[in-house]
Symmetry: C2
Subunit: 244 residues, 2 copies
């Protein structure tokens, strides 16, 4: 599996994705699942993928028009006038890739499915996020549901539900995401370090930084250890159950 | 779905189960999923079920020999010499029920599946827990894996992984389970209050108490609220990410 989260904050967007891919437990590797297109001053688009690796790689290749010679490439994702149109393009491309794989005779098509989170800002519009389904349709974040998860979303959801606030700083949002990812990594072998991180500041139309949090990252280790200790302390301070 | 957890502690066993059953989101109800057989001074057996309700109810009815007239009933679960034999009996019965349903022509038999946690103590043996699969086979707790979850296990797993200790008191273990259940209930509609609770003290061969934690239970509310506050406080005190 995979675990990716996109958060919308008042000050911008934060994306985090893991890098583990696997076909069974005896065949796993590290693969980047986060892709960014940037036209300085005009648009920044970030996309994260979960699901069948052949499907998601084909999706990205088609979005980058790798079916054409290098000189003829002019990715249409850079020509869409709005983020809504970007989501439509990604959805249509994803659906096409899955259908092409599925017509080979497989009856259960679920093996080729993938989901995508795409977000960013195009000049004239606000920063936003979309969750795109394998069928090509999609939903957009709202004030009530200001984040999306794809992949192994369950382990890391409780802390997001409880601690997310739209007016968080980027630094606090990254801390929250690290906790959510660490909870998942501790409980599920199919999600693993390193983690890719992308922060987009509203109206910057620029990619600030895209650091990779490696296995031995001191910050990650301090959060992982500190969070475990903090949970045990928090639990200790709650009132004990009184048996009748 | 469902969420049930069985914990083995140094001092005994703790069982907790939710009570929500549903067939789609527009048809849900409250059903007890925890069943106890007790022969004072000789054996105490507790069983929890997750999965198709027709399957799990048939399992319990067969274990209680409701196919016979009342005077002829002599549940064999009360005659098994060891907990291992109890697990074999439950596994064989579960497999039989699922196979009986599946032979009606359904090609995907997954709809009739169920899983079971059964635990307890029979005089001469130690308290133990088994997780029984729909195929009738089963695994037993070990010192390395001293608890089992069935149903919607993912949301509530991270806190169990981090805070469980075999030498916990019953009161602290119940507190831990309430937190694990509350994390699940906050994130998934198919798990719901009230919760059933059973504590078994080693060598007591008696059912101490089996309270039901209702929706408006003051203790549950204090843990749910207190845990949310504690998580936010704990997160606040962790070091923030430093962006380069």
């Amino acid at each position: 599996m995979t675990y990716c989260v996109g958060l919308r904050l008042n000050s911008g967007l934060v994306f985090m994705s893991d890098t583990r891919t696997n076909a069974g437990v005896d065949n796993f590797s590290t693969t980047k699942k986060m892709f960014t297109w940037n036209v300085p001053g005009e648009r920044t688009i970030t996309l994260m993928t979960a699901g069948n690796l052949a499907t998601t790689q084909a999706l990205i290749s088609l979005l980058e028009e790798r079916s054409k010679t290098v000189s003829e490439r002019n990715p249409t994702i850079l020509e869409q006038p709005t983020m809504f149109q970007v989501a439509r393009l990604v959805g249509a491309t994803l659906k096409e890739v899955i259908q092409n794989s599925a017509t080979g005779g497989q009856t259960g098509s679920s093996k080729f499915t993938a989901s995508v989170i795409v977000g960013g800002q195009i000049a004239g519009g606000n920063p936003t996020l979309f969750l795109i389904y394998p069928e090509g349709n999609f939903i957009e974040v709202t004030d009530d549901t200001p984040f999306f998860q794809i992949g192994e979303a369950k382990y890391g959801k409780p802390i997001l539900v409880r601690a997310y606030e739209p007016d968080m700083s980027f630094e606090d949002a990254i801390k929250l995401l690290v906790v959510s990812f660490d909870s998942t990594i501790k409980a599920n072998l199919s999600v693993g370090l390193p983690l890719d991180l992308q922060v987009y500041e509203t109206d910057s139309f620029a990619v600030s930084d895209q650091p990779r949090i490696e296995t031995d990252d001191a910050y990650y280790q301090s959060i992982s250890q500190g969070w475990g200790d903090a949970l045990r302390t928090a639990l200790m301070h709650l009132p004990s159950y009184k048996r009748s």
